[in-house]
């Protein structure tokens, strides 16, 4: 091996040039074939959510023009609220999607309260279950990742990865070599995803591509399962545990911001189950009374928000998202929680 240029480097160099040209051609051919194969079967490229993508949005909370409007919640927010449309309807605000599918958001609210740079508004969507102390830390790993590991280097990586995922089906692990081989051995095929995800961390659910009834049953069963597994609770203790929220709301208000607690629309069996286990008058109404320093909005009180057909009883079809964002913006302005 030579450590400097010499005449003997030429043939060895040509050998490597040939090897690399062949390698790149072969790699491109294999990947292009795989991409064409999956596209021919009707699969599309899609952006995948991750802690890095969340951290990218979390970073936006403290920078940019307009008042930050932090959208906190879980899947109903992530797949229900369209930040772009909301921005059009509320031009003074800069919506930032921090909701995380299947993760209740109070850890993020706590983090925003502790963030001296945050001077915006929080729209925090969660049902009575999500206020239980046991669920407070569900989003904490995302918060920790942002504070302890997120760097400009990962930011650049995630931007490039997002571009790659937006362009290529094979950027999704579901279409990687291992998953493909497993499907081939088992005679199965990858799941046809009916959620289209975006770099701003909002997602569109297309219920035409799935069976809403089975999804509805699945969610109802899951909710009953979750309810059965809940720790013992009663309205007094539930409310008493929430005492630290006074300090969080106070910290945000002291910097000129505000917190709006929101209960998004839920229908059918899920609504019945929630009302059965967490009756509104014993939980939500007491919460509203106990936190006069915050704003509260229950979608069930507003016909413009609750009239939407929710195919699985709790999530919005993407075609209803613009109208839902319009109604939500209008309601928040009407109530004086936000201004145009």
């Amino acid at each position: 091996m030579h450590s400097s240029t010499s005449s003997s480097d030429a043939p060895v160099g040509r050998r490597w040039l040939g090897a690399w040209l062949l390698a790149i051609a072969l790699a491109v051919a294999v990947c292009a074939l795989a991409e064409a194969h999956w596209r021919a079967l009707g699969y599309r490229s899609n952006i995948l959510d991750s802690r890095q993508l969340w951290a990218q949005q979390r970073e936006r909370v403290d920078s940019g023009s307009g008042i930050a409007l932090a959208l906190l919640g879980a899947s109903r927010t992530e797949f229900g609220i369209d930040p772009k449309r909301l921005r059009e309807r509320l031009p003074k605000y800069r919506p930032v999607m921090l909701a995380v599918d299947a993760h209740y958001p109070l850890a993020t609210l706590r983090d925003l309260a502790a963030d001296a740079d945050f001077r915006g508004v929080v729209l925090c969507d969660l049902d009575a279950v999500g206020y239980l102390r046991v669920y407070w830390d569900m989003q904490q790993p995302y918060v920790d990742y942002f504070h302890k590991q997120w760097t400009p280097s990962w930011n650049l990586h995630r931007r490039l990865l997002t571009d790659w995922q937006r362009s290529a089906v094979i950027a999704n692990p579901a279409f990687g070599w291992k998953a493909s081989l497993t499907h081939a051995l088992e005679g199965s095929e990858p799941f046809h995803d009916y959620i289209r995800y975006y770099a701003n961390r909002s997602g569109d659910i297309d219920y035409r591509q799935t069976d809403p009834e089975s999804t509805k049953r699945h969610f109802a069963q899951a909710m009953e399962g979750n309810i059965a597994a809940l720790p013992p609770h009663d309205p007094q203790r539930w409310l008493a545990d929430l005492a630290p929220m006074h300090a969080w709301i106070g910290a945000i208000a002291a910097r000129g911001g505000s917190v709006i607690f929101y209960s998004s629309p839920v229908n059918g069996l899920q609504r019945e189950a929630l009302q059965r286990v967490f009756p509104r008058e014993q939980y939500w109404d007491r919460l509203v009374a106990a936190f006069p320093e915050a704003h509260f909005l229950d979608a069930l009180d507003v016909p413009a928000l609750s009239h939407f057909d929710l195919p699985d009883d709790s999530h919005m079809d993407y075609r209803d998202k613009p109208a839902y964002a319009d109604a939500l913006a209008a309601t928040l302005v009407e109530r004086g929680y936000l201004s145009r």
Partner: protein, 471 residues
């Protein structure tokens, strides 16, 4: 930044182009030093002053050691640098471990002490660059060479980005000439360096992260409910993961350095084909095992103070080597077990079977399999979060425990993958990869690289930090 990130691809391309665009060697070294610091700050800019400060202090202390004519003064300086370096390492890495054990000790005496919890983040690579610095000062103390008068050269030796955060742990003697003599990228070095980068990424992304990690994580995250099949596949998977993860990093490091004209020492030599434990440690994390041998085992007296002292030194070296990996008793047990294996092997070689030690090939192969089995089982201590989990993992290896579920496809991939990795180690055990590749025709190399590249692209997923970053 990680080798398996898009950021590194951009960073390396920029550094490579800028490095070759510059004319003067001094300018190129400044570029490499700045690039190394940029590479390091990609994790946490707050720890850059620690890296620069540590290197500068050791650079200065080495000068003082060399300038001192009195033995006592030299000793004071070396003790000072040992205390400072190990003190910093102890503060960041071992403070919680030490406090917890102190509290446990007090509890035995009936005293209650709850140690305060400090939210101290471990600076990445601290164990590695501390060992770089220590070896330099110890070598100066031992009079092996004169210290460099150039701070930049020394800082570059410590911080050279390919090996900064997870080795190989290089010695100054291995790097001095390379840093002081101008070098550049050649087509051969670029071709081979990039090929090693691809091989390393293949080991990391395709094997460690895609084939092995999911099975190992599934087992060690739910040991109590695992079947014997899951226990064995999980244990084998972790053995595959730890090798492919760490060797993958080392291969990337060697490749990246080579593309810039630097040759780093090899860190792994097909360790799963080792016949015996001394052979294993000549093949596994070679830069650490030789460091421990030269600066710890030899300093303790090595084998010069009688038979029993040799065994004690061996055990101490391996126990400390275990603790170097992490602040937990599980790592100490892992190191202690390897110490025991080494001591037992030494005893057998010297006392029981001295004449038969040069065994026939078949017997050597059998001993190799026994070595592999024990190394694999010992990895349980390395991976388990605590001793209770480790014992549980061992219990679940027995066929009588858990349900007898068959392997699922992921577990099957891991077992077959581990068998293939081991087979490659046996086929290559007496070969040198860099020499061996020279005999391969360009099309064969091209096809192998092309397939590996395609497999890397087709192994998307979250970026898993290299396991050795935490050490």
């Amino acid at each position: 930044m990680q080798f398996d990130s898009f950021t590194f691809v951009v960073f390396f391309a920029v550094v490579l182009c800028a490095y070759n665009a510059l004319r003067g060697w001094a300018a190129r070294k400044w570029l490499l030093l700045v690039a190394s610091y940029v590479f390091y700050t990609a994790w946490n800019p707050l720890f850059l002053p620690l890296l620069v400060g540590s290197a500068t202090l050791d650079f200065w202390i080495a000068q003082r050691i060399h300038a001192s004519t009195e033995r006592a003064a030299r000793k004071r300086w070396i003790v000072a640098t040992l205390l400072i370096n190990l003190g910093v390492l102890g503060l960041f890495k071992y403070h919680a471990f030490l406090l917890d054990n102190f509290a446990a000790l007090l509890a035995l005496a009936g005293l209650r002490y709850v140690p305060a919890r400090f939210d101290i983040v471990l600076p990445i690579g601290i164990s590695f660059y501390t060992f770089h610095s220590l070896s330099y000062c110890l070598d100066i103390y031992r009079g092996k060479f004169e210290p460099t008068r150039n701070w930049r050269d020394y800082a570059l030796y410590v911080a050279f980005f390919p090996q900064l955060v997870a080795g190989p742990i290089t010695r100054f003697t291995q790097m001095r000439e390379q840093i002081e003599t101008p070098r550049q990228t050649t087509r051969e070095l670029l071709g081979l360096g990039c090929a090693l980068l691809v091989l390393g990424l293949f080991e990391k992304c395709v094997l460690a992260d895609t084939v092995f990690a999911p099975v190992a994580d599934a087992f060690f995250n739910s040991v109590s409910s695992a079947s014997a099949a899951a226990a064995w596949s999980g244990t084998l998977a972790f053995s595959g993961q730890i090798f492919c993860d760490f060797a993958g990093y080392s291969t990337c490091a060697i490749g990246a350095a080579l593309a810039l004209g630097f040759k780093l020492p090899i860190n792994f030599r097909f360790p799963y084909a080792a016949a015996g434990f001394s052979d294993f440690w000549r093949r596994w994390h070679i830069s650490l095992s030789t460091w421990l041998r030269d600066y710890l085992y030899v300093s303790l007296g090595g084998n010069r103070r009688g038979q029993w002292r040799t065994y004690v030194n061996l055990m101490l070296t391996m126990l400390i080597g275990g603790l170097w990996h992490g602040a937990a008793w599980t790592f100490v047990i892992w190191g202690g077990l390897h110490g025991l294996f080494l001591a037992a092997e030494r005893f057998a070689r010297e006392r029981l079977l001295p004449a038969k030690w040069q065994a026939p090939a078949l017997l050597r192969f059998g001993y190799g399999l026994l070595t592999l089995l024990l190394v694999t089982l010992t990895w349980i201590w390395f991976r388990a979060p605590d001793a209770a989990t480790a014992w549980q993992a061992f219990a679940h290896l027995l066929p009588a425990t858990g349900n007898g579920a068959a392997l699922d496809s992921g577990q099957m991939f891991a077992v077959v993958g581990f068998a293939l990795v081991t087979a490659v180690h046996w086929l290559m055990r007496d070969r040198d990869l860099l020499t061996w590749q020279q005999r391969l025709p360009a099309p064969v190399i091209g096809i192998a690289l092309g397939l590996m590249l395609a497999m890397i692209v087709l192994s998307p997923g979250d970026n898993h930090a290299f396991i050795y970053f935490q050490f």
